[in-house]
Amino acid sequence: MPDGNQAAIGQPALRIDGRAKVTGRARYASDEVVANPAWAFLVTSAIARGRLRGFRLDEARAVPGVLDILTHENVGGEAEKPKPMAGGDTTTTLESDRIWHDGQIIAVVVAESFEAAREAAHRVRPDYEEEAPSASFGSPGAEEEVRKAGEHKDYKVGHADSAFKAAEYKVDQHYGTPTQHHNPIELFTTTCAWNGGKLTIFEPSQFVYGLRGGLAKQIRMEAQDIHVVSRFVGGAFGSRGAATARTAWIAIAARRLGRPVKLVATRDQGFTIVTYRAETRHHIQLGATRDGRLTALRHEGWEVTSRPSQYNVSGTETTARVYACPNILTKVNIVHADRNTPGFMRAPPETPYMFPLEVAMDELAVALRMDPVELRRINDTGTDPATGRRYSSRSLMPCFDQAAERFGWSRRNPVPGSMREGDWLIGWGCATAAYAANIGPAAVRITLEPAGKARVQIAAHDIGTGAYTVIAITAADRLGLRIEDVTVELGDTELPAAGLAAGSSHTAGICNAVAKACAEIRARLAGAATVTNDGPLIGLDPATLTLRDGALHGPGGRSEPLARALARVAPGALELYSENIPKGLPPESIDKAYQGQMSMSRGHSREDVTAYTFGAQFVEVRVHERTREIRVPRAVGAFAAGTIINPLTAHSQYMGGMIWGIGSALHEETEIDPKAARYVNDNIAEYLIPVNADIRSIEVIMVPERDEEVNPLGIKGIGEIGIVGMNAAISNAVFHATGRRIRNLPIRIKDLL
């Protein structure tokens, strides 16, 4: 590797934005200062289906300080509905009198103060023409259809039905997962300020160009006239990927008023004005031989979506290729109900779909009287069974072996209910985690100064992932600088475009782009240094030169300071713009990034190889023998994700993913009133997420893995895999503790009485 010396990549580094975060000086979107803002407060629908006959606004208008009230009657024609990142069509808000779901934005009140806007919003009286809504699966009026192949594929390999019928050992079960909401701690905020025909937006975003492009279409203006700023994001988890309806109405409110308008939506509104993880149902059929080899795998899923949307996550694209199996059949159905349109939420396909597969595998292990780790080993494969393509790398069994060792799995008595401590029943369970290795295009501008400082500008997003720091590490590594000599600017549409910070693709996309740009800088410096006769590197092969410790080095101890090498190619600082289009993506994918469209090379649909991150997760649960509280005293996860740029922040991401998994398995469920089709526990006191006391020992093992095919830096992505195996590992552990097989999440006290 001629570029860099690997000094920084792979070494733990503190976050370069850490001081800003611990001092409260990091400016999140609603912290940005705008002059004299008016305040918006949303009015949302109290019914899930029907029409608006009109509004009584006199009481709201009479509130002192009210400046404007937007409804479909006065601004309906001024915007179009947003286009989600996937799934096609979606619901409207103020564009019409139609109500598609509970909590739909139906009016925006603007006032001099937050307090006045809130009061007036509570005094808006909508006049509804109500229709009976459908809440979910099984509700009267819900419409089921087979998902057409489009964004997602079905797999048919061999003859799954006949193989299942003939199988000696079988699992044939139904499973379910609930509605879940991201609930980042930062609320959904938008601040819009106009300056002539130019619009500036401060909004937490996972894709500033996506927000810009989407909004431009919604309010019919040129994208170049919109400036989106999102320098710090208080959590996202998929909720801040695409433009949503609110931004357009706040922009229009600010335009009508000729004054900046600031919205901080309430926590309950955050359940309905953005997306969520839809509830799913599953039917799994596994067939196996006596020695544990899978002979049939059939996985059919059902997912809820809104009336107009085709959104689905189709996690069968992963479950079909985790284990060797000659006969595979997958199918996905979507169920339209009177609901807001779902969307990405951390490991969108794998969290709901790997749960049934991995519980079914545990059930098969029990039926076979086989250790569940051994069952995975028997069915391990280097070939993707769905396509016949090679895995670029696959370290599933090293993950299982290292995690099992650390966990102490060999001490497990497999008999359910056999392990206990005092009044607590102990259960141990495990599961496979898998997540596709994805990558997107990115552009970057790097400015290298003679004093050995570099500035990296890229419209990437640090949603807590440590993006600021991995970019600095990569640039430092490749330019031979110290990390503290690199400054990084992110989250701004005035910077070169990077894609969506999602799909565990971002680090791969942006670090490969940075490394490529650095390589171009090195090549220019080396090229100039080896052909001019004013320096020590004359005549050397430029490919042998490296940047290290603030100097350009050649073989045989020949080197010259960076400032001299730089002076040869640029009068002051060298500014270099570079674009990186990952292998397999078309050349126009970088233009799509600038236009705000998603373009991603996905690990399961590459032409050359199948590229996945794998992991193994082990969990101990304790269930009180009498009152059935379920606690997780410890969990161990081992993951192999290729190159780890920053082990410190990677550890935090894996750990955070596992904690999400504990929440998903035991706590999180958005409850829907079955008659009214309305969310009921739309707050974070009753939509439970783990608190500190729920989390005890979380051990993360990073299994070394080198993958030179997945992308030049060998990065596979780590943001989501931590959650993937946890649902099943916990359910399997609960079975081991209690003998009760729980196939619907979350698993709570009431399920074990």
Binding site: E115, I185, R267, G464, M655, A685, N692
Partner: protein, 156 residues
Amino acid sequence: MDITLKVNGTERRLAVDVRTTLLDALREHLDLTGTKKGCDLGQCGACTVLMDGQRVLSCFTLAVAAEGTEITTIEGLAGEEDPLHPMQQAFLEQDAYQCGYCTPGQIMAAIACVHEGHANSDDEIREYMSGNLCRCGAYPKIVAAVRQAKPLMERA
């Protein structure tokens, strides 16, 4: 209403609505945006500040009722060029955050947790830090940060 708040040792005069919370007064009137709004309903802890040395939720405190008290926010722990408070330093070194949004509230709660004498074991720290939600799941590192900072705070 015209009120005077003593924040981070400085008296600040401001005009607020009677309904304005201490949280909104800090953020929107005094540009002290380190204190965060995560729910506005006492469910997340992101708005935690110290009032007369005790941790409280600024979202459930009327600004007008905060007159006459000493308020400390995250900005009051260390100036821009100052060394960090041991708890801030511990959060930085332990990577006890990801997105950082709950962090100011966590740090204020953690400092109070030590001062209260509720940081004597990991179990006790976990329990007494359970009023501050961290959606990124940094909890084990938050516990480690409190453990790290405690002796340094006690020495200071």
